[in-house]
């Protein structure tokens, strides 16, 4: 039996600003992870990542990150991904004040 697939989101950093962004179902890059497409199929995840990798004039370093469904949309699983949705903990800078 194959292992259960942990749902994923496609995420990257925006080329111009360098901030964290997530791929939406309608092919936009959103700074709000809740708007990301939550992917629960491994093959579809691979296709979406390939799509992201083709957008090299918009984003840098796309990858698949573990995620889970939340009340408002996908939520991070790992603390690193949680920090990427907020910004640093020492100042009110980044997404925690910009979104």
């Amino acid at each position: 039996m194959s292992r259960a697939f942990t749902p994923k989101v496609v995420t990257a950093n925006r080329l111009l600003e360098g901030d964290a962004v997530w791929l939406t179902e309608d092919d936009r890059w959103s700074p709000d992870m809740a708007q990301a497409e939550l992917i629960d199929d491994e093959a579809h995840a691979a296709i979406r990542l390939l799509h992201a990798q083709g957008q090299r004039d918009l984003v840098v370093g796309p990858y698949l990150a573990d995620a889970r469904a939340g009340t408002n949309g996908p939520e991070p699983v790992h603390f690193r991904e949680a920090f990427r949705t907020r910004g640093p903990s020492n100042y009110a800078h980044g997404k925690q004040v910009e979104l």
């Binding site: 600003e17 360098g18 901030d19 964290a20 840098v60 790992h78 920090f83 640093p88 903990s89 980044g94």
Partner: protein, 556 residues
């Protein structure tokens, strides 16, 4: 201080123009990220967790007031109004936008600065004793040699594609404030039996995932042999260093795997070939550089205002007792300006603070500023009579914290609040430890104690050489902090020992508190410092304090 020649100026301007073009071509899609990445790294531009980061070189940690003001301007205009002093005496800007970076580099070039070779597998910014040229215990100012090394290593064609990055540190003093034993090459100025000045050359030191103490490869190298000898070391490393495994590519592994004797033989064979090619031009250049580092004419006047303030103002006295160091010139002191106010981010300076420092350096400090690897700023030459005024100005700027060398003077890397490589956060741990000890009011009672925190195994926070080192790791998706004890970055160099299991974020501050309070019980007398007590007693009693208490549940 060194002033750019026409050659330096043209070189840096050309590089800015090249990078401006490269950024434009990345943005218009002509360059892929794979093509662009090595180009941006050559110019100090990283992509971090939340934004780009620009690392600007501060050669041997020395700045003049105009340069400091320009850093403030850059922080205001293109960043979020602050910068971060690093453990390699550089400054990092955490929020630049890609298309602004060429303008930032142009603004740096306007004051003789750049971000070249602050990344990549090249010879990085040469670091030096932050008290250079001022310390009472110094043989000679190491910065002219550091500048010579900077000129020689910048764009050196043979050393642009080394197996891995390469860091050189230099000190002119027997008291090692430059961590020379943890560098790829460490240079210590020494005198031989005939009284001539030369260098002890140390190779193969480093921290990171495999910490190693550097080994002496030459106990006395004549000054005139320095460049050819360093070139011989680099040439040996360039050939012998491993390129198959990134984690085994630093010179410390080359020296370890081949043995210091065979590495030494390879270096000496290179040196015999290289030395004759150095016909003295380098020494002429060095002489010209030395003239630019001539010490200022130190004023000779009464110290009375210092004595008066010291006698009457307890806040000034506390600051003077911790933040001043002995200067070589009578009537003068070295001021360390702490960027470690409890609760603040270690090493972060606002643009207003930078401007205040520039003004102070100009008015009272013979126009000189230094950045220390401990993430503080130094006013290296201040007459004691001016210290009350300097202290008052620092108070207004919020940088008069009296804690240099104490518990709250913590080194912390940016950690997972910024860094893409980090495995855990560092900054909040430093903030909480400093705030907790402020609450306990025992910092001055505890005395000298160096806590150093890294947010990953790469050890930018020098945790291996902290008296107390803290390493942040990711254990099964949770931040976890491992403690080491007994590290020392000085001439009594030591790599800290792990205490045992790590602690979760909520357990690390109480753990550090238990260690420090245990020290207060264990020390023989008030003058025995934490590290001395550790050296006398070893790990056992500290381990007991950490793990044998009712808080055992904290340990994971």
């Amino acid at each position: 201080m060194y002033r750019y020649t026409d050659f330096d100026e043209a070189f840096v301007r050309t590089r800015v123009a090249q990078f401006r073009d490269q950024v434009a071509r990345r943005i218009d899609g002509s360059l892929t990220e794979d093509e662009f990445r090595p180009l941006r790294l050559m110019n100090g531009l990283y992509l971090q967790l939340h934004a780009y980061m620009l690392r600007v070189a501060i050669p041997y940690g020395t700045l003049n007031p105009d340069q400091m003001r320009q850093l403030a301007m850059i922080a205001d205009r293109w960043d979020k109004g602050y910068g971060h002093w690093t453990t390699r005496q550089n400054i990092q800007f955490n929020w630049p936008k890609l298309e602004d970076v060429p303008d930032m580099l142009e603004a740096l070039a306007d004051v003789g600065m750049h971000a070249i070779q602050t990344s990549g597998n090249t010879i990085r910014n040469v670091t030096a004793d932050h008290f250079a040229g001022a310390a009472a215990d110094e043989i000679a100012d190491p910065r002219p040699v550091a500048e010579l090394l900077r000129q020689w290593s910048t764009d050196h064609p043979e050393f642009q594609f080394l197996p891995r990055k390469f860091k050189i540190a230099i000190t002119g003093s027997p008291n090692d404030r430059a961590v020379t034993r943890a560098h790829d090459i460490g240079l210590r100025m020494v005198r031989n039996d005939a009284g001539e000045a030369g260098f002890e050359v140390i190779v193969g030191g480093g921290l990171g995932r495999t910490p190693m103490e550097g080994k002496v490869i030459r106990d006395f190298l004549p000054r005139a042999d320095l460049l050819p000898y360093v070139e011989a070391v680099l040439a040996a490393y360039n050939l012998m260093g491993r390129r198959d495994n990134k984690y085994k590519a630093r010179i410390k592994i080359t020296v370890f795997e081949n043995g210091i004797d065979s590495f030494h033989d390879a270096v000496e064979a290179n040196f015999a070939k290289i030395r004759p090619r150095f016909t003295g031009v380098d020494q002429e250049i060095l002489t010209a550089i030395e003239a630019q580092f001539a010490p200022p004419v130190f004023a000779d006047r009464p110290e009375a205002p210092f004595d008066a303030a010291y006698a009457t103002d307890p806040v000034f006295r506390a600051w003077a007792d911790t933040n001043l160091a002995a200067h070589k010139a009578p009537g003068h002191a070295i001021v360390t300006v702490s960027f470690k106010a409890p609760g603040a981010t270690p090493g972060d300076a606002t643009s207003d603070q930078m401007r205040a420092l520039a003004d102070l350096a100009e008015t009272y400090g013979y126009g000189e500023l230094r950045i220390s690897h401990e993430q503080n700023v130094i006013l290296p030459h201040v007459h004691k009579a001016d210290l009350p005024a300097v202290h008052a100005a620092l108070k207004s700027a919020g940088i008069a914290t009296a804690n240099v060398g104490l518990v709250s003077d913590i080194i912390a890397c940016p950690g997972m609040d910024y860094c893409a490589l980090a495995t855990a956060r560092s900054i909040p741990i430093a903030q909480e430890i400093a705030l907790r000890f402020e609450e306990l009011q025992v910092e001055h009672e505890v005395g000298p104690l160096k806590i150093k925190i890294s947010g990953c195994i790469n050890a930018c926070g020098h945790h291996h050489v902290g008296h107390i080192g803290i390493l942040g790791l990711d254990r099964a998706g949770v931040e976890n902090y491992q403690i080491t004890l007994g590290g020392d970055h000085t001439e009594r160099f030591a790599i800290g020992e792990k205490t045992g299991p790590g602690f979760p974020a909520e357990g690390i501050v109480p753990a550090i508190e238990r260690l420090v309070l245990a020290y207060l019980d264990l020390r023989e007398h008030r003058e025995e410092s934490f590290i001395e007590t550790f050296r006398r007693l070893g790990m056992a009693p500290f381990k007991a304090a950490l793990y044998d208490s009712e808080d055992r549940a904290d340990a994971a």
